[in-house]
Amino acid sequence: MKLKYIKLIVLSAGIFTVSSCKKQFDINVSPDALPDSNSPIEQLLPSAQVNLGFEGGSDLFRFTTLIMQQMSGGASQPNQTYEYYRHNITGSDLNNVWSSIHATTLNDLELIIKQGGASPYYTGIAKILKAYEYSLVVDVWGDVPYTQAQQLTANTKPAYDDDATIYPKLIQLLADAVNELNASSSVLTPGANSLMYTGTWTAARANWIKLANTLRLRLLLHYSKRDPAFCVAQITALVNTPSIQFMASNADNFQMRFYNVANQRNPISAFEVSRPNYLFADTRMLNLMGAKNDPRRAFYFTDFPVGSGNYVGVSATALPPSPNNNYSRIHTFLRGAVVTPGVGTNSAVYTGDAPQRMLPYAEYCFIRAEAALMGAPGSAQQFFTDGITASMQEAGVPAANITTYLAANGTLTGTNAQRLQQIIEEKYVALFGVTVEPWNDWRRTGYPSLPVPTNSITGSVPRTLFYAQSEIDLNPNCPGQKAASLQDRVFWDN
């Protein structure tokens, strides 16, 4: 080879390398992900529904069911539930759920609302779910960002809204939702993407509308303590409007279905599998049911020892040495059918396909019963009976047992306060597995009365939860952490 040729080769190799054109470097778009330029609203709705359903059986459920002593972590030292049960729920413990609610569920819903203008059936459902989710946020934390929330990179530190101003907006959102669902046409129709209410769109749409209206009742009822007159007037106006439909049976329950398939199981049941011995029955709930020989007990809890017919709970005021597994556990009502029975202290295996209930028909009945007691239309007694019946039927109690129970416990008696106690205590049992609402009832009415766990670090039952530590760290507009006693009150708790 002559030197000349070698020089030529070197030169051309150099030029080849250098001459890579500009286009070769504009390749920084992932070939494996959907770009954000176009929202897939048909797939956002399933994501939002599943996440919302999941959240219904996740952190907030555990915190509130422990606070409300439906379940206990008092025998589960050193697990987290032991700490939660003694009201040691730190700001950091709320990071996950805070992020999940705002950055996943509410954000997916907001994208549907913002970009789904041509598809009012989608935006209508999204608005109902947003109102539901936001009401939980307000009920738990009080002041939170609302008007500046969900603006993505345009505003990464939203200002806070007074919680009293958010509720009316949520109620309005529900009214708007009903209008949108009643629209004569929609480019996209949810069809199978409506996971919470299935069937034909006509049937599902009717269910969604009933939910919107029932949810309005729930929100209005929350005003009972702050402004009873307003509460009664608003509920009266609503229930007297003939065109407004409410839930009418268990078929209308607002709930998320889960399946007996890996990674599609009810989160409460999945928690029991991955974290056995974190939750046991609480004597507060068990005693309330035991005193009335409540037939739902056999569906709510396992007996201990298995086959004994005895239900054993942890007492908040007489905590056992931990850990101790000799207690009743969550049973079929929240976990689905038994696949393999439990032995000794080992849990049974369940299908895990119980629905995650968020606003059952029974709650509607109890809302109406309480409203009627306060002066709204309807018979408190009738709604009381209907609520118990619906709850029993939902649990799978045979009709004869329901009749027996109603005969012994189904009559409202005494003063209004006593009747209210009867209603709320029945509601407390009926809403086993429903996130946050039993706690709301307790904060509004004081029922059922709760003993303070002997090792409580707050010294009294919390009336709010801490803001997520991440929010304290990252949002300079956050008003600051709640008082350590957790006795700050949300607006309707005054």
Partner: protein
């Protein structure tokens, strides 16, 4: 192609010429005049040759056209002597160490005289690297190089992190670039899972140490600026062994066999049984039960009927934990064949390694095939071909914070539970264990992870000598591998294992590919003008990296132990199935001018175009300047009997970084929907046949640009007593700005982070290397090599409004970057403290009160590190001991806490827990005050003191200081003297005894070896969470050449 083929094989076959011959004799001596035995004497350009006898003499038949003889020997400079008319040719050879003006390999493989460098480079040779024959080459660097911190994560083939001169970025990789023979290779992996799966190796583990000639550590931007965007964390430059020209073909064989065991084992109490508050409980995790007196209890349970009615005589089982571990075996074999003529050189090698872990079912097997050839095609062109194929397969065990990790609770198995002998499964393979987690034996046997990597690294390079002063180099190479990882979770697993299958069993398959192409061409011009030397290098480099990753989980195993995906009922792909392609084009120049060896000045610049940014931000220029002055050359009067050499050097250099950890971050994307809350429950899509998408919580940013790291350093090099004492001290300051990270923000905006160029970091450090030869005689010498490393990395600025970045861990504890503080601090909740005295505040019960929020509770960064190698050579014996001292550095130790709070550590039984009458004893008193400031007088029991309401009430209680002194490596070798070998076919035979982690003293860290890290290779250091234990190894070796 055909030419290449010929080239490859041509080098192996030597043309033999038969011509008129004559005999030449002579004697070969060394610089002391002693005979050199076994030196090779070859006629240049032929294979004709011989070796010298023990007295140094030789006799060789030389063909008539033989022009010159080439003399070569181990550790000697090769000498070429022209053949004249004389029949006697004596040769004098000098040992290589002395003759070397210390040529080191620098960026782009350019060899430079260390004397003239303006920056720090440390080079290790093969012998220094392979003393302890570690499986992972990364570990072989520990304590050997000033400015370098190597952190193993426990276990012999998990990941190990290398940090050179501190951290340069927040959440991206801080690991240096690995370059083999000029081709950048991938060293990803090495992370340990926090919640699921097994830990994996960093990919440098694919390298066979025996193939390495030398390793240069280029520290920081100054030394590495030519490597551009990937070099801000420094470069580990590996040069593989080549055949040597003019050396007779030879075969080298080596084998080593080591035993490994757990380096440090906890001391247990064997006095108290499983239970709580003095009462026996068959389901308690803890050993706070009654004193073991041989009483009969209804023990754990009958493993066959799964009931807790079996009565058993209570006893302690002192070895119930240690029996879980076995001796690991590490067996390495290497066979190489190498040689060369003056035109062609070659080396082929095969390496085999098999390393079994200290837990059953853990093994790594590696095969490496390597070829290295070089051929002078003509006077102008040299072509070299290098290639390594490696196959690396391993089996591993579950790790992390999960019930399927055998060491999650295995370390504190109740003292009275006969883990060793009680059956862990029934005949059908169903697990039998009364406690909540997976039985350690069961999970080791049944929850399995295996992986296999097939990898090729190679290049072809061309060197053109265009004129006397100008040459061109062009190299094109690749690093390509495919990885297959397979995990099987048994039916009935209680922990998440690999797939979080909730006990129904699962199969996971991961397939990933990595492929890089690197093309690099440059011209080198060298001109001498009287005493001036000028060198200019101008070149261009192009690199493309393509990766893909696919993961598929199957859940609901049907037939036990049939590990196939089609044996499961539901399949779900990972949400992160992905591929990525990045391109980087660089133009660079390096200009050096020197006057005699008195001073030199160097300027480097490079412009990169990176595909990871949008056009407009993707082209960026940076540069470096350095200089050195040799004072002893400048002022020759300074030279004395004491001082040989004194040099001062300094430089300032900046490197732009492409942010390869943030590929595709210039846009935001929708991602597959899912739900999870960190407790195990998980929802995967498609959900009941419906697909879901959600907007990713991390938003992208079209305005992203490069990160820049600037290093300033000054150094002094001193050599005394004719090189018997050399000393090098470097002081540096390094600042990194525009650091890219996902800046977290309020989730109420709908996203939780936005990727931004937001932060600044700085490093300050001093490093010191000295080499002392206190004794040197004919037959004995003693060398001390000492290095000192000290650096601190500070987080100078985070994004506005961001006070910290969560690097890893849990709600409490976690590792954070906090503005204004040192890098990677440990945060967690703490004890409440009295403002006046600083003492812990206790409640009326005598137990500490804790803070509700988290605060800084520890600093995992060591204050300084010292490595010291003492080498003693006596005749052909050589003894070398490497001492590794690390001062400071905190660790959150969950294992240690677990041993104590569960009542198994020996100190928990230091005092009787109960007196003879069974009354609870309260011998412990916290040195604390009550809330009102009066001293604490409330004594507490052992269970309270060591429990979750006592010492371990707050994360602060878990913090332990990790200062250690260890004998990191030691080796004793003996080579048979050449006089004994002369009658054998062997030219070299060496026996060795060696070991690693032979001694450990960690004064503040009881029970366990502190060298562990829950997160493996990660920027988050300082959490220890039930990881595999560090091992100690001891072995024997044999090395043969013939």
């Amino acid at each position: 192609m055909r030419k290449l083929f010929l080239l490859l094989f041509g080098v192996v076959f030597f043309a033999v010429q038969a011509m008129a011959q004559r005999t030449i004799t002579g004697k070969v001596t060394d610089d002391k005049g002693l005979p050199v035995a076994n030196a090779s004497v070859v006629v240049k350009g032929t294979t004709a040759g011989t070796t010298t006898k023990p007295d140094g003499t030789y006799s060789l038949t030389v063909p008539a056209n033989g022009k010159a003889l080439i003399f070569s020997a181990v550790d000697m400079t090769t000498v070429e002597v022209a053949v004249g008319t004389t029949a006697v040719i004596d040769a004098k050879m000098i040992s290589e160490e002395k003759s070397l003006s210390e040529v080191v390999v620098t960026a782009m493989g350019i060899k430079k005289d260390k004397k003239t460098l303006g920056y720090g480079v440390t080079q290790l040779n093969n012998a220094e690297i392979t003393k302890a024959h570690t499986t992972n080459i990364t570990n072989a660097l520990a304590a050997k190089v000033p400015g370098v911190r190597v952190s193993g994560s426990g276990g012999s083939f998990t990941g190990s992190s290398i940090l050179i001169r501190g951290f340069t970025t927040f959440t991206g990789s801080n690991q240096p670039l690995f370059v083999i023979d000029g081709i950048p290779i991938d060293n990803s992996g090495g992370g340990s899972p926090l919640q699921n799966g097994a830990s994996v190796s960093n990919r440098a583990i694919d390298i066979n140490q025996d193939d390495i000639e030398s390793m240069s550590v280029l520290k920081g931007p100054s030394a590495a600026v030519l490597y551009g965007s990937r070099a801000s964390n420094g470069v580990i430059l590996i040069t593989t062994k080549k055949g040597k020209s003019g050396k007779k073909a030879s075969i080298q064989f080596s084998t080593t066999y080591q035993l490994e065991n757990v380096n440090r084992f906890p001391e247990y109490q064997n006095e108290y049984a499983q239970g709580n508050s003095g009462l026996f409980s068959p389901v308690a995790q803890t050993s706070w039960g009654p004193r073991i007196t041989g009483q009969t209890v209804a023990n754990a349970y009958d493993p066959y009927t799964n009931t807790n009615t079996r009565s058993e005589q209570l006893a302690a089982y002192p070895n119930n934990v240690s029996d879980l571990f076995r001796n690991g075996i590490n067996w390495q074999n290497n066979l190489a064949f190498s040689g060369g003529t003056d035109k062609n050189t070659f080396r082929f090698s095969y390496g085999h390694l098999r390393n079994t872990g200290v837990l059953a079912n853990n093994v790594l097997t590696r095969h490496n095939f390597t070829i290295n050839t070089s051929s002078k095609v003509n006077n102008y062109l040299t072509v070299s071909v290098t290639g390594t194929y490696s196959n690396n397969a391993s089996r591993r065990t579950q790790q992390g914070n999960q019930l399927s990790n055998p060491l999650f609770r295995g370390w504190f198995t109740p003292r009275s539970y006969n883990l060793t002998s009680l059956a862990f499964e029934d005949a059908a393979g169903n697990q039998r264990y009364p406690l909540g987690e997976d039985n350690p034996y069961w999970t080791i046997k049944h929850n399995r992870v295996r992986d296999e990597i097939n990898r090729f690294i190679g290049n072809v390079s061309f060197n053109f000598r265009l004129t006397k002063w100008l040459q061109a180099d062009y190299k094109i190479g690749t690093d390509a591998y495919s990885l297959f990882r397979h995990a099987y979770d048994q039916i009935g697993a209680r922990g998440g294992a690999s797939t979080n299958a909730n006990g129904v069993g699962g199969v996971r398959e991961v397939r990933s590919n990595y492929r890089s192409i690197n093309s690099n061409g440059f011209f080198t011009a060298t001109k001498r003008l009287k005493s001036w030397t000028g060198t200019a290098i101008v070149g261009t480099e192009f690199q493309q990296i393509y990766t893909n990753f696919a993961q598929l989980d199957g859940k609901g195993v049907i037939v036990r132990d049939f590990e196939q995906l089609n044996n499961t009922t539901t399949y779900s792909p990972a949400p992160q199935n992905s591929s990525s392609k990045t391109r980087l084009l660089g133009f660079y120049g390096d200009f050096t001018i020197g006057y005699k060896s008195i001073f030199s000045l160097n300027a480097t610049l490079r412009n990169d175009v990176s595909s990871t940014f949008k056009p407009g931000n993707n082209s960026y220029l940076y540069n470096g300047f350095g200089g050195s002055v040799n004072l002893t050359e400048l002022f020759p009067k300074m030279k004395s009997k004491v001082i040989d050499n004194l040099k001062i050097r300094g430089n300032i250099a900046t490197v732009g970084k492409a942010g390869g950890d943030f590929v595709y971050s210039t846009d935001s994307y929708f991602a597959g929907a899912a739900s999870a809350d960190g407790f195990g429950p998980t929802i995967a899509f498609p959900f009941n046949g419906i697909q879901g998408f959600t907007l990713g919580n991390g938003a992208g940013n079209p305005a992203l640009g490069p990160e820049f790291t600037t290093n300033k350093e000054v150094a002094l090099e001193l050599s005394l007593f004719k090189g018997r004492f050399t000393f090098e001290i470097t002081k540096y300051k390094q600042t990194s700005k525009d650091l890219i990270f996902a800046v977290p923000n309020s989730a109420t905006s709908g996203i939780t982070s936005v990727v931004q160029n937001a932060g600044n970091l700085s490093n300050k450090g001093i490093e010191l290397g000295t080499n002392i030869i206190p004794i040197k005689t004919k037959s004995f010498d003693w060398t001390i090599n000492f290095n000192y490393t000290q650096f601190k990395s500070f987080v100078d600025k985070l994004a506005p409004g961001v006070t910290n970045i969560f690097l890893g861990g849990f709600v409490t504890p976690n590792i954070r970057l906090v503005e204004g503080d040192e890098y990677g601090q440990i945060y967690g909740n703490a004890y409440q403290r009295d403002a006046k005295t600083g003492k812990i505040i206790v409640g009326a019960n005598g137990l500490p009160l804790i803070t509700s929020g988290v605060q800084k509770i520890g600093n995992p960064n060591p204050k300084y590190q010292i490595g010291m190698t003492n080498t003693f050579n006596y005749k052909t014996f050589s003894l070398s001991i490497l001492i590794d001292y690390k001062k400071g550095g905190d660790q959150y130790s969950r294992n240690l806490a677990d041993l104590r709070r569960n009542g198994v550590a020996i100190e928990t039984a230091e005092f009787p827990r109960y007196d003879g009458a069974g009354v609870l004893q309260k011998p412990y008193l916290f040195d604390a005050v009550y809330a009102n400031g009066t001293p604490n007088t409330t004594y507490v029991s052992a269970q309270d003191y060591w429990g979750n309401s006592g010492v371990y009430a707050a994360a602060e209680g878990f913090i332990v200081e990790t200062t250690w002194f260890r004998i990191r490596e030691a080796s004793l070798s003996y080579s048979l003297p050449s006089s004994m070998l002369s009658k054998t076919p062997f030219s070299n035979m060496e026996f060795s005894l060696f070991g690693r982690n032979l001694f450990l003293d960690a004064p503040n860290y009881p029970h366990l070896d502190p060298e562990q890290n829950a997160l493996g290779i990660s920027n988050a250091q300082g959490l220890e969470f039930n990881a595999l234990p560090q091992t100690r190894s001891m072995g024997v070796g044999l090395r043969l050449s013939f």
